[in-house]
C-alpha cells in the first residue's frame, strides 16, 4: 500500500534499514537453532543434551524436566534422570518431535501472527484505515505493523520447522472467532484500534509468558526479540485510541504537535511497569 506523505516515507525507509540489521541477528539465532537441533538429533539421549547445556549449549535440562514432568512425583535426582532419559528417547522419534512444549508454543505464536496479518489486511481494506479518508499516520502504522507481523510469523515458523515441527499457516482459531465476531462492528477507526489493542496485547502477553517456559535457548531468543515489538504496537495503539476517543485524532501526526497533546497522552501508552501475562493465550491453542 503506497504511503503518500514524503516524511513518513523517509521514516519508513529508515526503519527498513534498521529492520534488515535486526533480521540478520534473528537469522543468526535461527541458524544456531538448526545446528543445535542437528546436534540434539545426533546425540539421541538426554545425557548428551545435559552436557550441552552445562557447557553453555542448548536445552537447559532442569527446565525441560520441569515442563515435561510437571505434576509427577519426584524421586530424587537419579529417578528424574532415568525418566528424563526415557522422555528424550521419545522426543527423538519423529512422531513425537512436533509435540514438544517448545514447538507448540512456537506454533501458537505463528498462528497469532497469522491472525494479526489477516486482521490488519482486513483493516486496510476499510476506507477510514487504508483508504482516502484515513489518517496518513494511522494508515502507515497499520501497513508497517502488518509487515512486521508477517516477519514474526516467518521467524516463528522457521523456528518451528528447524525444531522438527509443522509450520502453522492458519490463524489462532480461538482468536479468529473474536475477530470474526468483531468484524461487523468495525465501522470506525476507534473500533479497529480497540480490536488491534486486544490482539497485540494478547500476542505480547503470550510471548512474555512463554519466555521463561521455553527450554530451547534460541527459541527463547527469537520469542524475546518479538515480544517487546508487540508491546510497542500496544503503546502506540493505546495513544492513538486515547486521542481518537477524545476527538483529537488530528493530533495523530509525525511529528506530533507535542504542545497540543493532552497531558495524559504522555503516559497512556505504557500503563503498567511490568507487562502482564493475564491475556496470554494457552501454549497449545494454535498448535494445529
Amino acid at each position: 500500500m503506497p504511503i503518500d506523505d514524503p516524511r513518513l516515507r523517509d521514516l519508513l525507509e529508515q526503519s527498513q534499514d534498521l529492520h534488515h540489521d535486526a533480521m540478520r541477528a534473528t537469522h543468526a539465532s535461527l541458524d544456531e537453532l538448526v545446528e543445535l537441533g542437528h546436534d540434539d538429533r545426533r546425540a539421541g539421549h538426554r545425557a548428551d543434551v545435559q552436557a550441552d547445556s552445562q557447557a553453555g549449549g542448548e536445552v537447559p535440562s532442569s527446565v525441560t524436566t520441569r515442563s515435561l514432568l510437571s505434576g509427577l512425583p519426584t524421586g530424587g535426582v537419579l529417578a528424574a534422570a532415568g525418566l528424563g532419559t526415557a522422555m528424550v528417547a521419545l522426543l527423538a522419534s519423529p512422531a513425537f518431535a512436533g509435540k514438544t512444549a517448545d514447538v507448540q508454543m512456537l506454533q501458537t505464536a505463528a498462528s497469532i501472527e497469522n491472525l494479526a496479518v489477516a486482521t490488519y489486511t482486513t483493516a486496510l481494506g476499510l476506507d477510514f484505515i487504508g483508504g482516502g479518508s484515513a489518517n496518513p499516520v494511522v494508515k502507515a502504522f497499520v501497513t508497517k505493523t502488518k509487515d512486521q507481523h508477517a516477519d514474526h510469523a516467518k521467524a516463528f515458523n522457521a523456528a518451528v520447522t528447524r525444531l522438527g515441527g509443522k509450520p502453522q499457516d492458519q490463524p489462532d482459531p480461538a482468536l479468529l472467532k473474536v475477530v470474526e465476531q468483531a468484524k461487523p462492528s468495525l465501522t470506525d477507526a476507534g473500533a479497529v484500534v480497540a480490536l488491534a489493542i486486544e490482539l497485540e496485547t494478547g500476542a505480547a502477553a503470550t510471548y512474555v509468558a512463554n519466555v521463561p517456559q521455553l527450554a530451547n535457548k534460541n527459541a527463547r531468543a527469537v520469542t524475546a526479540s518479538i515480544m517487546g515489538v508487540e508491546a510497542q504496537h500496544v503503546a502506540i495503539l493505546n495513544a492513538v485510541q486515547a486521542l481518537v476517543t477524545a476527538g483529537a485524532a488530528d493530533l495523530i501526526a509525525l511529528p506530533p504537535d507535542a504542545a497540543q497533546l493532552p497531558a495524559a497522552a504522555g503516559s497512556v501508552g505504557f500503563p503498567v511497569a511490568f507487562f502482564s501475562t493475564t491475556d496470554a493465550r494457552p501454549a497449545t491453542e494454535g498448535a494445529l
Partner: protein, 261 residues
C-alpha cells in the same frame, strides 16, 4: 516547570485522566505479583548459591552468544568479550552469575530514575524552554516505573542475602553526564532518554539469553517490553517512526563489566 498554553480539550482530558487512573490501578495490581516473582528468584538464588551454583560463578553471560555494541547511542565504546566481562563482574560488584546481572539491571534502573529526575529538575528550573504537558507526564510516569523496576531487582538481591544496589551504572553515567551537559531543550532531553531506554531494553534482551533462573527470566521478560514502550512513545514525541524494527536487538546492551557505584 513552564507549561505551554494548549488548546482546550476539556472532555477528552477528563476522559484521558480517568483512563490513566484506571491504568494506574492496573499497574498496582501487577506490581505485587512481580515483586513476589522477584523475591522467589532471590530465595532460589540463595539456596542455589550454597550448592552447585558455585560452578556458575564468574560466567554470568557465558554462552549467551552476545557480542554487543555497548551503549552505542551514548557513544560508549565497543563491548569486551563476554568471558572477560563476566570475570570482571566478580571484581566489580562482588557478585557472580544471575546476581551480577541483577545488580547491573538495578544500577541501570537507578540511573534512569536519576536521569529523569535531573530532566524534571532542569525543566522546573526553566532550563529547557517550554515543556509540553504530555512530556511532563511521560517523564514522571517513566521515572516511577523505573523506580518499580529497581525495587524488583533489589528485592532479588536482598532476598538472596545481598545488599541492594543504591548506586548507578557509573560507566553509562559518565556518558549520560556528558550528554546531559549539552541538553538545552525538550527534544535533546528526549533523545538522551531514548538512548537510556533502548540501552536498558537491549540489556534485558541480553539478560534473557544469560539468566538461568526461571523467575529471573520472567522478571526480565516483563520489564523489557515496558522499556521498549517508553522508547516507542519517545520516538513518537520526537517525530520518528515509533516502532522502527520488527525484532528487538541487543545492540547497546550493557555488560556486567560496568562499574557500579
Amino acid at each position: 516547570m513552564k507549561i505551554r498554553r494548549r488548546r482546550e480539550i476539556a472532555v477528552s482530558e477528563a476522559e484521558l485522566t480517568a483512563l490513566t487512573a484506571d491504568l494506574a490501578d492496573a499497574h498496582h495490581d501487577t506490581l505485587p505479583g512481580m515483586l513476589a516473582a522477584a523475591n522467589e528468584m532471590g530465595a532460589s538464588r540463595r539456596s542455589f548459591l550454597l550448592g552447585a551454583g558455585a560452578l556458575l560463578g564468574g560466567v554470568a553471560i557465558a554462552g549467551s552468544g552476545l557480542t554487543n555494541g555497548l551503549g552505542s547511542g551514548l557513544g560508549l565504546g565497543g563491548g569486551s568479550g563476554i568471558a572477560g566481562a563476566s570475570t570482571r563482574a566478580a571484581k566489580s560488584s562482588g557478585l557472580t552469575g544471575d546476581l551480577a546481572i541483577v545488580a547491573l539491571a538495578a544500577s541501570l534502573e537507578n540511573l534512569a530514575v536519576a536521569t529523569y529526575q535531573a530532566g524534571i529538575d532542569a525543566a522546573t528550573a526553566g532550563k529547557l524552554g517550554a515543556v509540553p504537558p504530555a512530556v511532563v507526564t511521560f517523564a514522571q510516569t517513566a521515572q516511577s516505573q523505573h523506580r518499580d523496576h529497581a525495587a524488583a531487582w533489589n528485592g532479588v538481591l536482598t532476598g538472596a542475602g545481598k545488599q541492594a544496589v543504591t548506586g548507578v551504572d557509573l560507566t553509562v553515567k559518565k556518558s549520560v553526564d556528558q550528554a546531559f551537559g549539552s541538553v538545552t531543550d525538550v527534544p535533546g532531553l528526549a533523545k538522551l532518554a531514548l538512548d537510556l531506554e533502548e540501552g536498558a531494553a537491549a540489556t534485558y534482551l541480553a539478560a534473557i539469553g544469560a539468566v538461568k533462573s526461571p523467575a529471573g527470566l520472567a522478571t526480565a521478560a516483563s520489564i523489557h517490553p515496558v522499556e521498549l514502550q517508553h522508547a516507542a512513545i519517545l520516538n513518537f514525541l520526537l517525530g520518528e517512526y515509533p516502532v522502527p524494527q520488527s525484532f528487538a536487538t541487543t545492540t547497546g546492551a550493557r555488560t556486567t563489566s560496568d562499574k557500579i557505584g
